[in-house]
Amino acid sequence: MKPVITKNISVDPTHDEVPPAALGRKLRRADDFIKIAVTACDGLLHGDNTDIDATETGLFLGTAFGPMETNFEVLDLILEEGRSSPFLFSHSVFNAAAGYIAEIYNIKGCGQTITDFSWPFLLSLREGCSAINAGRLQRCLILQVETYSPLLEDSRQDLNPHSPAWPMGGVAWLLERSDRVSKGYQVDSLDINSRPAAPEAYLSRVAENRLNDIQLLANDPLSSARELTRYIEKNEPQKLEFCSNADYGTAKLLLHKTL
């Protein structure tokens, strides 16, 4: 079965309600990373009345930096008070967001959190496509979430003093089997070739990113996933070709619109 993207959403916490009011109580102790991740999923699954068994829905969450600031908050507490907070610590674990999503949306299939500085969203998409292709899942969520930290931003500014700050945010796609859906974007091919790069490359993020005939300007870790999502939403192209060429490798994604 071919994987088809049937829904997608990009979450910008400066414009969108994060978290949605209905989930405020459930997420009252959660950090930004978890709130953005859940908000993105809520955009795809709110009111979901699928007949697919919960064990046949999976989750692949990619991130470059994970809940970095939460990790520092735990360290602050340890250094200042010699103790940790159960909530903070459990939220500092990279797959905490996946756990929240699974619990809130009753996702009982496989769940993977993938950490990568280059293309965490595309790597997650590749794993999701493999699961759908092989018939292991009927559908899955593909996400990338980034919240960064002031320490990281300072380091980035030291290296690139005039570049804009990386915006926090999240992206989520719903991937389903082609025999179950009539409309969406089929994933025709996805090739990712990561290669080791100088560490500066992951902060400067110099890359040629092209989306059909458009050159993408933004180069933050979330930019390719975010711009892909917005482009599909706005233009509904018949075909989509995304290419990225960076110091840390190349990636190419081909999609086509299904009827």
């Binding site: 500092s92 674990v93 320490l151 100088a198």
Partner: protein, 415 residues
Amino acid sequence: MSISAQKNSPIITGTGCICAAGQNTAAVTTSLHAATVNCAPIPDYLFSSDLTFPAFTVQQEALTREAYNFFLEQGVDPSALVCNRTLQLTLTALTEALQQAGYHLSDLRNRRVGIALGTTVGCTFNNEDYYIAWKKDQKPDIDPVFHYLDSNPALRLQKIMDVEGPCLVITNACASGTDAIGVGSRWLQDDLCDIVITGGADELSRIAYHGFAGLMLTANTPCRPFSADREGLNLGEGAGVLILEKQYESKKKKALGSVRGYGSAGDAHHPTAPHPEGRGMQQALAVALGEAKTTVEDIAYINSHGTGTPSNDRAESAALAGLGFTADNCPVVSTKGVTGHTLGAAGAIEAILTLEALRQGSTMGTIGCKAVDPQLHPAVLIEREERPLNGKVGISQSLAFGGGNAALVLEGYPA
């Protein structure tokens, strides 16, 4: 897509591990048989703490001399080997695995080599001195940040080995190592690569040490998995690495065993506590058994997650009982009594120990467990008990924060 159907079970041609129980697989196995428990206060070379929970730590030099020389002899620049402790542990385990599989780095450079590793601490920024100086606005030198950006375990191995292929780090908390092996196996089945280097690694960090203590999950004494008087887990550190290959690629080699099946599933229950009936664990096991085309009756050995916390052991026990595993058909063992809970490395180290038990055809009991909690699964082997295995297929399983569960069905070829 560049994904096709290649359904043969990946073959394991090399393994390597390091943890408190030893610097290689043979030493760890010896410690298991001798019931050697290296559980002690946190050494100063890791970090200082007012807490007194003992842990299973590796000696100061996590990159052994043998491993260091192995890479130097093969032309790796010494500066490439200057790395964090998690990577040092990984390189030590990798050396053993490559040597067992009979690979020099030059053999791998014209092949598609996938690297799938699991970790928790290995993906975080851990330089406390830098962080403290930065918070005090002392403008510290940026080098530790670059070091962190150069420390993604999979990419760093790719760089050191100078190989090409898919690269991925799984951060599924305590199930990371098991999931990484599962993902790596599927890469071979999907023909994304010819060889996979997989496993998991984690150093012991101050954050994890205090974090688990804050969750009231750590014990003041060496852990006693599945005992009625168990009081929690002991953290540890280590690495486990496996070399996986396609069946036809490995015909000329002495194969150790194969990855027959892998399953992963979510509890959808609680951020940190497992589902009391091990709902997700049952599902992960069912998927792994199905993929392996095996049944409960075929399983000769189970290496459980067995942390020694009341909730984990209860959930795991319920999951196994729910699937029909009984005392008659298969022994259940936890090896954390000699390794400690090595977080992202645990699943990989335990997969290797599962393979060893299956290849040897016998298992030792659960170190630290002198009498099984009567409310738990009756098949748990207790300390000092040794049991011959009635088959060559077994299970290694992991549970994680976030309700993640993962299981591997492994086959061991006779030693």
